[in-house]
């Protein structure tokens, strides 16, 4: 291990850290609050650029063997997570942005970066906590609304339970296999004794909790609703993506044994049904996104059923597409009072007030529903192909049918925007320029991926 090696391998994380420090310092030295937007944007961009660059040159290193290593997948994962957070930053800028938000977000990203490079449960836990702890604060940052504290509390308590469960799982892994490396986890996966099985299933359950899989999902709708729009976007996209990518990395080349497989089939399937159905009757947009994210977590978990070599590609592509479209939808919400813009009613007749936003939201919805030609379809295709390839044909069919249940909820949004007269309270307040930038950015990416999915797939 050389210093240069460490420097290079963890360059994206270093850049994030640097950014956090810079914001902290400027915040300290200046007496009046300064806008940290540019700084944070540059930081994330730089981190992403570093990840892309290192991915392109094919950098492979293990500066802390057994704990932290980088390779193409790690860089690709980081690049896409950082990339996804750019529209989130823009979105945040458009409504409420200060140095606290910036630092929390960057810290969380830092945790995500660690998770994607972790080689041991120790490091994984470390990363996960760095990812999670700022989130609780991020949720509560929209504190002008009383519900955000409640949301943060629910998130915190249930997240805390999740942490404890994860730790218990890690501890049992240690007991069962004598170590905390991923290879030990793989051994536990393969092992049939009580300790190993318990260890593995607890770890998986903890990840399910973080990703909001039924029945561990209860925090998600409330937390999403209580949080601000950018925080919702961040949780639904970057956090979910980081958790699942990390889980894919944790599983590595191993596959689940039959009893764990049943869990990995049943609970995501349940999530799809539950999330899709429960979302149908929501009146709040963020809550709708929350339930939809529960269903999408189900699809993402399905990727774990696939053959090891196919999982990363499927998950990564799905995360990109899902993240972009969710952000796109949130970025296009009409501006205005927070409670008002969250109401689905406010979208009624949106096409007549703001056709561009309406069309963009419609695109996002259709992509989320997995209707071609939007990239959501390709992503779904990839996931279910992965499942089918591993021989679970019936499971894939069930999953597809479950995904069918989700179509209506997205159509409902489109129906509101295009086919309903405007509700009395909705006014025309087009989204601000920065939010528009976020939307345009997402839309451009969506279009690009939609027309040339092969390029993205090739890069992953």
């Amino acid at each position: 291990m050389t210093p240069e090696g460490l420097f290079l391998a963890a360059l994206p994380e270093h850049l994030l850290l640097l950014g956090i420090l810079a914001i902290l310092v400027t915040d300290l030295v200046s007496d009046r609050p300064r806008d940290p937007f540019l700084l944070s944007l540059v930081t994330v961009l730089a981190a992403m650029a570093a990840a892309i660059g290192l991915h392109t040159v094919g950098h492979v290193a293990a500066p802390f063997p057994g704990h932290f290593s980088v390779g193409p997948e790690a860089f690709a994962g980081k690049a896409l997570l950082f990339g996804l957070s750019i529209p989130v930053l823009l979105l945040a800028r458009s409504e409420h942005f200060d140095s606290r938000f910036a630092m929390l977000l960057l810290s969380s990203l830092y945790g995500a970066g660690l998770m994607l490079s972790a080689d041991s449960l120790l490091m994984l836990f470390f990363g996960l906590e760095i990812l999670s702890l700022p989130l609780y604060a991020l949720v509560v940052l929209a504190y002008r609304r009383p519900e955000s504290a409640e949301a943060a509390l629910k998130y915190l308590v249930l997240g805390g339970v999740g942490t404890a469960v994860l730790l218990m799982g890690i501890s049992l892994t240690l007991g069962a296999t004598g170590g905390l490396g991923y290879e030990h986890f793989a051994a536990a996966l393969a092992g049939g004794d009580m300790l190993s099985r318990g260890a593995v299933v607890l770890v998986v359950a903890a990840f399910m909790l973080k990703a909001a899989i039924v029945p561990f999902h209860a925090w998600a709708p409330d937390a999403y609703e209580g949080a601000s729009v950018p925080a919702t976007a961040f949780m639904a996209t970057v956090v979910k993506g980081a958790v699942i990518l990390a889980l894919v990395r944790l599983f590595g080349d191993a596959g689940a044994g039959p009893e764990l497989l049943a869990v990995l089939i049943a609970l995501p399937l349940l999530s799809m049904v539950w999330g899709n159905l429960a979302a149908m009757r929501q009146q709040g947009f963020r809550r709708l996104i929350a339930y939809s994210s529960i269903a999408h977590a189900g699809y993402l978990f399905f990727a774990l059923l696939g053959l090891p070599e196919a999982r990363f590609e499927a998950v990564a592509f799905y995360v990109i597409v899902y993240g972009l479209t969710t952000t796109l939808a949130l970025a296009c919400l009409p501006a205005g009072e927070d409670w008002l813009r969250d109401r689905l009613d406010s979208l009624k007749g949106l096409y007549h007030r703001d056709p561009r936003s309406a069309i963009l939201i419609a695109v996002a919805m259709l992509s989320l529903a997995g209707i071609p030609p939007f990239p959501g379809f390709v992503a779904k295709f990839l996931i279910f192909r992965t499942v089918m390839e591993s021989g679970l044909v019936a499971v894939a069919v069930l999953g597809l049918v479950a995904s069918y249940l989700g179509i209506y909820l997205y159509l409902r949004v489109i129906q509101y925007m295009f086919m309903s007269p405007s509700a009395s309270h909705s006014r025309t307040l087009p989204a601000g320029p920065v939010a528009t930038a976020a939307a345009v950015l997402s839309m451009a990416a969506v279009l690009l991926i939609g027309v040339f999915p092969g390029v993205v797939l090739g890069w992953l």
Partner: protein, 515 residues
């Protein structure tokens, strides 16, 4: 310009038009209409030119373009013309300008969005027909739902939301299972050939076990049968038709329904020939049930649009019957019948739209004696009615005659071999022409004949057709008679592809009769 380039242009013209459309101001409805009219007319010209360039008797695809798209999966942007899609492409291109022209006065709300959706629809429909790659096909197939969803939902009638959701969810359910089958095919190709591919031609050669074929065919057939629609999967159709604006109904009846039958013809049966052979009695039964059931329902409706909607169920039953005859006569007839139904049902829906614009009612009981009030209108309506009945010299006759002849031709040897059932079905289908006349003449009688009355007829008079409307209908009627009188040119161009179809699906049947 090479023909392949022209074909690509044909496909992408609506997209280009759509991009220009985005730049137009919402208020300038005239510009918007003009633009889409120009684009779609250009498309028609291009399609016509390609039709004449298309050479009869050449096996395989013509004017092919094949470019890798998602290389890792073996997905190609692969389009081309063959005898199976040639006429349907021509039909879509033909109906395009008519639909836009028909919407000049009837669509006044959100004009830009409307024309955007029509162009989008046109793109996806042509894409579905032209695609020679299963992934691409599915993409277009499914994407088509989006513009239709909006067209029904935004410009539709009172229960438009219910109708459009029903339409979308119904068809999407079929598509989901088809998607499962598509994915299954995709990785089967990979495991069998070692390299991924979605090309139809590669997929044709996969030798599945019969049980697997049956399952896959069931998945594809469900999707296609919903779109056709075959009884008992038809209930979305009357609602969608009734609530859709005229343009929506015309495209729906004119082109969208054909995608189902085209799907069977191009994919369903050729991909899974053994299963198709086993399922033939079932499909025949359903086809005949559709003929009878649709005819019965059309008889007891009082909403003009519903009558025509149910007549579509009946007419497409004939198409299906022709497809499963697996001989040249029947399949050729089915193709002609598809085109014919597109023209006739499309035309009838346009005409219902015209009367609706004047009187704002679709209730049959409110009308009577239009032959007195609107003589020109009535002449056109009568011609289209007769074409729907399948009177000789109209396109409906060419289609029905060949279909029934082919079906009989296929059933007779089975009868001689001791299987009565197919012959009974064909006979019932032939009797279906009586039922067809029953409901169509009821419609004509109550609408055109009797004491003259119509809602909102001020001073007992109505404005008869204007020049624009006359031009639209004249074009349709000319096409109807052309196919009725001189179908041979069409038949020659489709023959080769049909021969390939029957050899792929049921070579043994191909040998006997009509080949």
């Amino acid at each position: 310009m090479s023909e392949a380039m022209a074909l690509n242009l044909l496909l992408f013209l609506p997209v280009l038009g759509g991009i220009v459309l985005l730049a137009l101001p919402e208020r300038r409805a005239d510009l918007v209409r003009g633009l889409s009219m120009v684009v779609l007319s250009a498309q028609l010209l291009l399609a016509a030119w390609l039709y004449f360039q298309f050479e009869a008797g050449v096996p395989g695809l013509q004017f092919e373009t094949r470019i890798p798209w998602i290389a890792a999966w073996g997905v190609h942007y692969h389009i081309g013309l063959d005898g199976l899609n040639l006429l349907l492409v021509l039909l879509s291109a033909f109906l395009g300008p008519l639909v836009v022209a028909g919407a000049f006065t009837s669509i006044t709300k959100d004009v830009k969005l409307f024309h955007g959706m029509v162009l989008f629809l046109q793109f996806t429909m042509l894409g579905t027909f032209l695609a020679q790659d299963l992934f691409l096909f599915y993409l277009f197939w499914e994407a088509m739902l989006i513009p239709m969803f909006l067209i029904i939902g935004v410009w539709g009638g009172e229960r438009r939301i219910y109708a459009t959701l029903k339409f979308f969810l119904y068809t999407a359910f079929g598509s989901i299972l088809m998607l499962a089958a598509v994915i299954y095919l995709a990785f089967t190709v990979l495991t069998q050939d070692g390299s991924p591919s979605f090309a139809f031609t590669d997929l044709y050669d996969l030798g599945f076990a019969v049980e697997v074929q049956l399952l896959l065919l069931a998945a594809f057939a469900l999707s296609f049968a919903i779109k056709v629609p075959m009884v008992p999967l038809h209930t979305w159709l009357p609602d969608a038709h009734v609530e859709a604006p005229t343009a929506g109904s015309v495209i729906l009846a004119g082109v969208l329904l054909k995608m189902g039958t085209y799907g069977f013809l191009k994919l369903g049966f050729p991909l899974f020939p053994d299963a198709a052979q086993i399922a033939t009695p079932l499909i025949m039964t359903l086809a005949v049930v559709s003929i009878i059931y649709g005819a019965g329902l059309a008889l007891v409706q009082d909403d003009i649009k519903k009558i025509i909607a149910y007549s579509s169920v009946s007419h497409l039953g004939y198409v299906m019957l022709g497809l499963v005859s697996y001989n040249l006569l029947g399949v050729q007839g089915a193709i002609i019948q598809m085109v014919s139904h597109g023209l006739v049902a499309g035309g009838l829906f346009l005409m219902v739209g015209m009367i609706y614009e004047r009187c704002h009612s679709r209730d049959l009981a409110a009308y009577g004696g239009l032959a007195k009030l609107l003589p020109v209108y009535s002449v056109f309506f009568m011609i289209l009615t007769l074409a729907a009945i399948g009177l000789p010299t109209t396109s409906g006759f060419t289609g029905e005659f060949l279909v029934l002849l082919g079906a009989f031709h296929a059933a007779w040897p089975q009868f001689e071999a001791g299987a009565t059932y197919p012959l009974v079905l064909v006979s019932v289908a032939v009797l279906g022409i009586v039922l067809g006349a029953l409901y169509m003449l009821r419609l004509a009688r109550r609408l055109l004949f009797g004491e003259a009355r119509a809602p909102e007829a001020e001073g007992g008079t109505l404005r008869d057709l204007g020049l624009r409307e006359k031009a639209i209908l004249a074009a349709l009627v000319a096409a109807v008679f052309y196919i009725g009188l001189f179908p041979n040119d069409f038949l020659q161009k489709t023959e080769q592809a049909v021969i390939e179809y029957q050899e792929r699906v049921w070579p043994a049947r191909a040998g006997e009769g009509g080949q």
